[in-house]
């Protein structure tokens, strides 16, 4: 056998090695491709479809006779949409701010090296483990004037005590805030706690040596270094607020009247039960625009800040 002809086994090995190399190069793309394809189709594809539908006068089923932006005009003339949009601003704003404040305070308190910290942390975090439907139902009972808090306090002898927000169309939106804050503030606390723990202890010691008081240390040193945590918390809370649907359904059912309607419940009612797919799609696109209007400037400022900082 001439020596310059490689043995069959070697050929095979070399071939195999190049095949392995090939797979190695292609594999990451192969692994990512299906989920990317699925995401492109089911998320962005359907967004596009929703936008197309919002330009048609589809009623019970999708139809494709285009009417321009007429559905948006109808949407903005719709009394109930104004209620829903205003409610989102009230609910979203109060929800995000309250969660941040309560979560931060809880985290700072827990950070004072107290006993049983693990148990307390679990207690605060636990509501997050419940489904929003459960939260809604439980708070519906608690806030029901005839069964819950009002009845209990009256039972103690305070006959004039009134807490009937759930059935008051002006106040009902705040019951949603209460329930949602109860659910999510423990989670925000966990985020902040992780952020606090990641701050180097030497910073505290140095500040303390310089004679700074504890509140001053927190406001001047700790809080600014928590910026990225606030960023993630706002992201998560904002999307919880905008997609809020199950909580409304379980707690108030959109009522009294449609006083606690949010864009998500408005969209569901019109698209799926009232045979106004065109109008519903327009409202869905407006929700998307709302998300973008908040997130894009925020993302932009935060990410740019990081690059420089």
């Amino acid at each position: 056998m001439p020596s310059n002809v490689p043995a069959p086994a070697t050929v095979e090995r070399r071939h195999r090695r190049s095949l392995a190399g090939h797979i190695e190069r292609v594999l990451p793309r192969l692994v990512v491709a299906p989920s990317l394809g699925v995401a492109l189709f089911f998320v962005y594809g359907y967004m596009l479809w929703t936008f197309l539908l919002s330009l048609t006068n589809s009623r019970m089923l999708p139809q494709y006779d285009f009417v321009g932006f007429a559905q948006y005009a109808r949407l903005f003339a719709n009394e109930r949409w104004h209620v829903a949009a205003t409610n989102l601003v009230v609910f979203g704003g109060l929800f995000i701010v309250s969660c941040l404040v309560i979560g931060l305070l809880l985290a700072i308190f827990l950070d004072q090296r107290i006993r049983q910290e693990g148990a307390l942390r679990t207690i605060y975090l636990y509501p997050m483990a419940l489904s929003l439907i459960v939260t809604g139902v439980v708070w519906r009972w608690l806030l029901n004037p005839g069964l819950g808090i009002q009845a209990m306090v009256r039972g103690w002898g305070f006959e004039d005590f009134t807490f009937n927000w759930l059935v008051d169309s002006d106040m009902a939106i705040y019951t949603l805030v209460i329930a949602a804050v109860w659910q999510a503030s423990g989670f925000v606390m966990a985020l902040f706690l992780a952020g606090l723990r990641s701050i180097d202890d030497s910073l505290f010691q140095a500040a303390a040596l310089d004679g700074a008081s504890l509140p001053r240390i927190y406001t001047r040193i700790v809080l600014p270094s928590l910026r990225p945590v606030v960023f993630s918390a706002v992201m998560i809370l904002a999307h919880i607020a905008i997609k809020s649907f199950d909580l409304v359904m379980a707690l108030t059912g959109g009522g009294p009247g449609y006083a606690t309607d949010l864009p998500a419940t408005f969209m569901y009612a019109h698209t799926f039960t009232r045979g106004q797919i065109g109008l519903g799609s327009a409202s869905a696109i407006m929700m998307l625009c709302g998300v973008l209007a908040i997130l894009v400037p925020y993302l932009y400022s935060e990410l740019r800040g990081q690059r420089h900082g």
Binding site: R59, P62, A77, S169, G253, G255, Y258, F272
Partner: protein, 417 residues
């Protein structure tokens, strides 16, 4: 050996013959609660006795909202069921989109036009052809009353005018009961409003306002008076109505916490389940000024357009079973409604059903028979939703004036066209 072959061949042949006209049909419906499920099962058995197969497609959810959502998604994907429970003007909408078939054959063979009330039959036709078969008739305008509570409050009969009603309500309140049990959901608010309005305005007014959605009627003095009376009713209810289900409200009447409830005759099922007898343990009476009126809600089974001959045959068979006399009796006894056939005797029915039929006959003669808007019999989904929005918002907003509400009705209805 030969005989076995012959037998086998014969069996195959007969199976083949049986197959020629028998088929599996899928039936979408929302008859899922106790009495309703029993009623649906009866239909299934009768259809299977004819050799067809009933593929059950039940979607839970009282008013059929979820069932309609499912139906739409199936229709969009090009795979609708053969038969679906659809109501009122929605039948025409589906028909106009070309989804429904034609069951005139069954209608001619059994002579439907002879025994179906004209108004009810008209709703099941698309361009003059039967596309759906009506199953039953529910009456919406009913007061369900607990006689013990009334007696205890010194009220000797269920009020016949709204003035009487509010007087009685004061007495009932003083005696420590809730005068009117109610669930604060938009469709329940609309149910009560519809009943108030039909009493005050009468049949012609009701049709102008809630079927034609005539702006003049919607802003008329009659409408404003109805709205005011309706708002006054809020004071006869308890504070916790928000979001309460109708059957919880019914149980308040059953349990003696409340005196009355305004609700359609499916409420009877709750009383029956509690072991109560109509006329003794509870009373069913027409709400003020609606004795000779009848606001109806009819369930229909619409037949979708299918190519398969066997399935077409199964649809025709199903339709004629639904309108057969004995099925009408059995089904409606289980469901709490009355037969849609005018020539069926109600001897075996309870007192409330008999009263319902009497009211129906009177209402037909006196033009008091009206389709219920609250239950999707009068206008399209989007218009119904628009009316619901205004009614329920007016009812829950203490500051809104009746005049404002009537103007909003007009603009909301126009926007939903």
């Amino acid at each position: 050996m030969k005989t076995i072959h012959a037998l086998a061949a014969g069996a195959l042949l007969s199976a083949a013959v049986g197959q020629a006209n028998a088929a599996e049909i899928e039936v979408l419906h929302w008859w899922t609660s106790g009495g309703e499920a029993k009623a649906a099962n009866l239909l299934k058995e009768k259809l299977e006795a004819k050799g067809h197969t009933w593929k059950d497609f039940a979607v839970a959810g009282g008013a059929g909202d979820s069932a309609m959502t499912v139906l739409k998604s199936r229709a969009i994907s090009g795979n609708p069921p053969a038969v679906a429970q659809i109501k009122g003007p929605l039948i025409k909408e589906w028909g106009d989109m070309g989804f429904l078939g034609n069951i005139d054959k069954a209608a001619e063979a059994d002579g439907w036009d002879d025994f179906l009330p004209e108004e009810v039959a008209a709703a099941d036709k698309v361009e003059g052809h039967y596309a759906a078969v009506p199953v039953n008739i529910h009456r919406i305008n009913w007061i369900w009353a607990n006689p013990e509570v009334l007696e205890d409050s010194g009220v000797d009969h269920v009020p016949q005018t709204w003035d009487e009603f509010f007087d009685a309500a004061d007495k009932i309140r003083e005696a420590g009961y809730i005068p009117l049990a109610h669930g604060g959901q938009p469709w329940q608010d609309a149910t009560v409003f519809e009943v108030v309005m039909m009493g005050i305005g009468g049949g012609d007014f009701y049709r102008k306002a809630f079927v034609d959605l005539d702006p003049e009627a919607l802003t008329s003095d009659t409408m404003i008076e109805s709205l005011k009376t309706f708002k006054k009713l809020r004071g006869t209810m308890d504070d916790n109505i928000a979001g309460r289900d109708w059957n919880i409200a019914t149980s308040m009447v059953i349990g003696g916490k409340a005196a009355m409830q305004i609700m359609g005759d499916w409420a009877k099922g709750e009383f029956t389940a509690a072991g109560m007898t109509p006329g003794e343990d509870y009373e069913c009476v027409a709400p003020p000024m609606t004795e000779s009126m009848f606001s109806y809600n009819t369930d229909s089974l619409a037949m979708f357009d299918v190519d398969d001959e066997g399935q077409q045959q199964a649809q025709l068979d199903l339709a004629s079973i639904v309108l057969s006399k004995d099925f009408q009796v059995q089904f409606n006894q289980a469901k709490g409604s009355i037969p849609v056939r005018l020539d069926v005797s109600l001897d075996d029915f309870d007192a409330c059903a008999k009263a319902s039929r009497e009211a129906f006959d009177v209402a037909m003669d006196e033009k008091g028979l009206v389709p219920s808007l609250a239950h999707g019999m009068a206008v399209s989904d989007s218009q119904q939703g628009a009316v619901f929005d205004v009614i329920t918002n007016f009812f829950n907003d203490p500051d809104m004036k009746a005049e404002t509400a009537s103007e909003r009705l007009v603009s909301a209805v126009r926007a939903a066209e």
